[in-house]
């Protein structure tokens, strides 16, 4: 479940910051405004997951597409491929190797709702200063933003989220520390602002797919 949270946060943060609004610190406020003007919609990624179950980090790579506020698509390539698609109402994770898919509902008091809602509101201009403590620092080729969640719902998702913004004011790295000590580091490249067709965020399981609903609904 925490992986889902991570994916959501990573994906939402990427363009979300591009549309973030004012925060108390004037410089951060300006920075967020400029990021918003430079909103991106898709990028390649490389991910490193350090989870307590495994001795070594799990590496993966792929591409993400995003459309605010909660539509996204994430394709993981390699020997263990997967496809994650959210249309805002439900979240699909499809595993081609196993011909299986997991479906998670959004809305109707799904456990994911508070996470998605909290993250969205956190990235909303009106609530960002209420939901995050934001510390910004200028680095050689961009900025480092350290986001610490204020609300209980987000604290259940992660302890801390570090974002690195490049010279082009695009998020190129996220580092998330989860409550159980797991850590997920994602690096983005080839960010673009090309329009994304709506069908990108639709998913229909291929015939013969074994579909499960882990949340029971």
């Amino acid at each position: 479940m925490r992986t889902v949270f991570f994916i959501l946060i990573g994906l939402i943060c990427l363009p979300g910051f591009a549309r973030a609004e004012a925060v108390p610190d004037a410089e951060v406020k300006n920075l967020l405004a400029r990021i918003r003007e430079n909103r991106i919609t898709q990028a390649d990624f490389q991910e490193e997951r350090i989870i307590h179950l495994m001795k070594k980090p799990i590496l993966s790579s792929g591409r993400v597409w995003f459309q605010p506020p909660n539509r996204f698509r994430r394709e993981v390539k390699g020997s263990s491929p997967s496809l994650t698609v959210s249309d805002g109402h439900q979240l699909w994770i499809y595993y081609p190797n196993f011909k299986s898919a997991e479906r998670y509902p959004l809305g109707k008091r799904s456990p994911l709702d508070s996470t998605v809602a909290a993250i969205n509101s956190a990235l909303n201009l009106e609530n960002v200063e209420n939901t995050f403590q934001i510390a910004a620092a200028k680095i050689d080729k961009g900025y480092e933003l350290a986001l610490t969640p204020r609300t209980a719902s987000m604290k259940r998702v992660f302890q801390k989220l570090d974002l690195r913004i490049n010279d082009n004011l695009q998020a190129d790295r996220t580092n998330m520390l989860l409550p159980n000590g797991d850590r997920i580091v994602t690096t983005y490249s080839n960010q673009t602002r090309a329009p994304v067709p709506p069908s990108t965020f639709e998913f229909t399981p291929p015939p013969g797919t074994d579909i499960t609903t882990p949340l029971g609904r």
Partner: protein, 812 residues
């Protein structure tokens, strides 16, 4: 010597002795009440005890931990839902720190690491409790190849980013826990059936089990004082808009009801004393007899309460209505007796002679009045409700004692040397009315008949209807904070507290297990057929000694060393961390240990930590006796309320039928007493008119019937019969109409007005049932009085005219 003369002599010549006797009686009653009084505040005891549904609720109420459970709710504005989510853990922690709180449930136990760990800790007994087929299938997971396949598959899923695989390995590294808990998860779904957060997230629920030693009224009041003190400071740390902290639960209700009972008694007593006292003084211009009447009534109440307590052991809250009814009835006796005494004094009789005359002339009427009333209320024993049975017995005892005291102790408060009233304008007005009616009864008879007939037509016609408020909420105090809290919670989360309850009490664990297995199958069928929405049972937690023993024997076939070794090798091969799988090795060791037949079979009760939030779930299903259990069915529509209405709906007709039977008894008694068909018919018509006009008034004033004020019909009948007896008997015997009839009608009028005032004062009560009882009785007695004065009297004058030259009353 006649009894009346004996009483007169004792009162006048042995005053000190009578005073000592009355004082000793009062002291004895107070001593017994103070040392032994136990109030039964359970609203369920007002319902018919013969109903199985009521019996089940009583068992659940008495034997299950939830009676000591308080429900807290935080309610905020929609804009503050995030703040509420932040504030909730802090509030829960504050709640846990309260000295009166033993356990708090602030969210689904599955959402916390402790909750998951606690669940893992009870896996072994639940695993052994599986049905043999399921157990063997589950244990096959420990075959080396299956261990390897499972871990490899899950590893691949984790590599692909599956959150499910990660959660599965964290929760159930060996794959045995999920099958063991499957029956438990299937039969209990607390988060779905009993959500702790409202859908709009503006309300959060916290369940707290208190450490109160009992649920007595005083203990609940003490607890709620501490709870309210906590509530006053619990906002600290909240920085949002308005935040309501609601509290409800058994203790909150008991506390409020008991406190409102105290207020009701004081407020209605004060109102009653002022109103009755004013009317009494206007009528007789004497204060001391009024004091005597109050003392006699108080002593009657004490005697009745004491005897009632000795008979029943504890007194129901509905008995609060007893004092009001007894006062309403007893006042009549006092006013009649004193009125007759005063009239005798005005006629020139001495103090002793006047006492003897009043007792002699009205003793019979008082006796029959008390008899009809007592028998009528004793019939409530047939209602099947403990509360109403007590009420009937208390009134029956009280009214007899009141009749006795009014003919004796009341005279202790009448001074011998006090001069009779010279100019009695009330008596003069009534005397003029009596003269006019006797001379020309037709105009008044026609007018009153027309009015009462019209009202009776309205009353007995189905339109407009008289509503029955069959909900027990009609008995809750007005503006009850606990009730308001419950209503708000129900409004926000209508799924809460609406399941149908099934109670199973077995004689041994195996029987309990088997019973619940059968019930679960039956309910599954009902659910599949769409007849019920969902259900939850303790079936998974009811351990079967037979299954556990049989499954333990099967464990010996499992190669635990091989499983242990395979697990180690596979973890290394797949790159898993051994530390993360420590609980898997522990479970393997525990199961291997159980192979030894000398090892006691595990019990989840011993393994689940006392601080675990899962006990909230367990306590829903298990009583203090582990063999006493409850299951819950959620229906497709709120039939619990419907069923309740039906049950109560059945009860209301029972009470009305009893009232009808007693009315039959009353009219039969009147027939024997009067031995005059015409007078008897007049009296019966009077009673019908009074009841008809009463119902019409209730309809027009939109006063609903409820569990308590339905008794008013019985009371109005009793008082109506009494008024009839007083007036008809004196009519039969009088020879000096103006003097004798007016001499009785005046006390009847005053008694009626004081009864109306006394019952009217009950409107001040916070308890809506009590206030509606007061208003219904006041209306009914008013119409009884009106019918007696303006219909019975002219009707008798028309039916059996008396020559005005008869100027002397017959001697008995």
């Amino acid at each position: 010597m006649r009894i009346s003369d004996f009483i007169a002599r004792i009162i006048t010549q042995r005053r000190a002795l009578v005073w000592c006797g009355a004082t000793a009686l009062a002291v004895a009653c107070i001593t017994i009440l103070v040392t032994s009084l136990r109030l039964d505040s359970d609203v369920l005891n007002i319902l018919p005890s013969s109903f199985r549904s009521v019996q089940g609720l009583k068992i659940y109420d008495r034997e299950f931990e939830q009676t000591r459970e308080l429900t807290f709710a935080l309610l905020c504005d929609p804009n503050d839902v995030d703040k509420l989510e932040d504030f909730a853990p802090a509030f829960a922690e504050k709640l846990r720190q309260q000295p009166w709180c033993t356990r708090v449930l602030a969210g689904s136990p599955m959402a916390t690491p402790d909750g998951i760990r606690d669940l893992q800790s009870i896996a072994a007994p639940l695993l052994l409790n599986l049905e043999p087929g399921a157990f063997n299938e589950t244990m096959s997971i420990l075959q080396p190849q299956k261990i390897r396949d499972r871990l490899h598959r899950l590893h691949q899923h984790i590599e692909a980013g599956s959150p499910r695989a990660e959660f599965e390995l964290s929760f159930d590294p060996l794959g045995l826990i999920a099958p063991a808990l499957k029956p438990f998860a299937e039969s209990t779904a607390i988060e779905q059936d009993q959500p702790l957060t409202s859908p709009d997230r503006t309300m959060r629920i916290f369940l707290a089990v208190t450490n109160q030693s009992s649920i007595s009224a005083f203990e609940c009041q003490r607890l709620m004082r501490r709870v309210n003190a906590f509530r006053a400071t619990a906002h600290e740390g909240w920085d949002g808009g308005p935040l309501e902290i609601l509290v409800t639960g058994r203790s909150a209700f008991v506390s409020e009801i008991s406190l409102s009972m105290r207020y009701d008694i004081l407020a209605t007593l004060a109102g009653s004393v002022v109103l009755v006292g004013t009317i009494f003084f206007v009528g007789f211009r004497r204060w001391l007899p009024l004091l005597g009447m109050g003392f006699s009534l108080l002593l009657s109440c004490l005697v009745a309460l004491t005897l009632g307590l000795l008979i029943f052991g504890r007194l129901s809250m509905v008995s609060v209505g007893f004092c009001a009814i007894l006062v309403g009835l007893g006042v009549d006796f006092a006013i009649l007796i004193f009125g007759r005494y005063q009239q005798a004094r005005t006629d020139g009789e001495s103090h002793g002679q006047a006492i003897a005359t009043s007792v002699a002339k009205l003793g019979k009427a008082v006796f029959f009045g008390a008899l009809t009333t007592a028998v009528g209320f004793l019939a409530l024993v047939l209602s099947g409700s403990m509360g109403f049975s007590q009420l009937g017995v208390l009134i029956a005892i009280g009214i007899f004692v009141a009749g006795l005291f009014m003919c004796s102790i009341l005279f202790l408060f009448i001074r011998e040397r006090q001069a009779p009233v010279r100019h009695d304008w009330v008596f003069e007005i009534i005397k003029k009315y009596v003269c006019w009616v006797v001379r020309r009864p037709a105009p008044m008879l026609i007018f009153s008949s027309a009015l009462l007939l019209l009202l009776s037509a309205i009353g007995f016609s189905p339109i407009p209807p008289l509503h029955f408020e069959a909900s027990t909420r009609s008995l809750e105090p007005k503006n009850s904070r606990a009730s308001v809290a419950l209503q708000k919670i129900m409004h926000k989360m209508p799924m809460r507290w609406e399941p149908v309850l099934a109670v199973v009490h077995a004689t041994n664990p195996q029987e309990l297990h088997d019973d619940w297995q059968k019930i679960a199958v039956h309910w599954s069928d009902l659910q599949a057929a769409g007849k019920i929405k969902s259900f939850s049972t303790p079936a998974a937690l009811c351990l079967s000694p037979k299954s556990m023993q049989r499954n333990r024997e099967q464990l010996s076939a499992v190669n635990f060393p091989a499983a242990h070794e395979t697990l180690e090798q596979t973890l290394d091969a797949e790159g898993f961390s051994r530390d993360a799988f420590a609980s898997a090795f522990t479970l393997l060791d525990n199961l291997q240990h159980l192979v030894d037949p000398d090892t006691p079979l595990p019990n989840w009760r011993a393994q689940l930590p006392r601080s675990s939030s899962w006990w909230f779930l367990v306590d829903r299903y298990f009583g203090q006796d582990p063999l006493l259990t409850a299951g819950f069915v959620t229906t497709n529509q709120p039939v619990s309320t419907h069923a309740q209405r039906e049950d109560l709906g059945r009860n209301l007709p029972v009470l009305l039928i009893i009232s009808a039977l007693m009315a039959f008894f009353d009219v039969s008694l009147l027939a024997i007493l009067y031995r005059d068909l015409r007078l008897w018919i007049i009296q019966v018509i009077t009673l019908a008119f009074a009841i008809g006009a009463m119902i019409a008034s209730m309809k027009l004033l939109h006063i609903d019937l409820n569990m308590l004020n339905v008794l008013s019909f019985r009371l109005v009948l009793a008082i109506g019969v009494d008024y009839g007896i007083y007036v008809v008997l004196i009519w039969q015997k009088t020879r000096e109409i103006e003097h004798d009839v007016a001499g009785v009608v005046k006390p009847v009028v005053l008694a009626g007005l004081t009864a109306v005032a006394g019952f009217g004062s009950l409107v001040l009560a916070k308890n809506p049932a009590l206030s509606s009882l007061g208003s219904a009785c006041a209306i009914g007695i008013f119409w009884s009085l009106v019918a007696t004065i303006f219909f019975t009297l002219p009707a008798m004058a028309a039916a059996e005219p008396k020559p005005r030259h008869e100027n002397k009353i017959d001697t008995d």
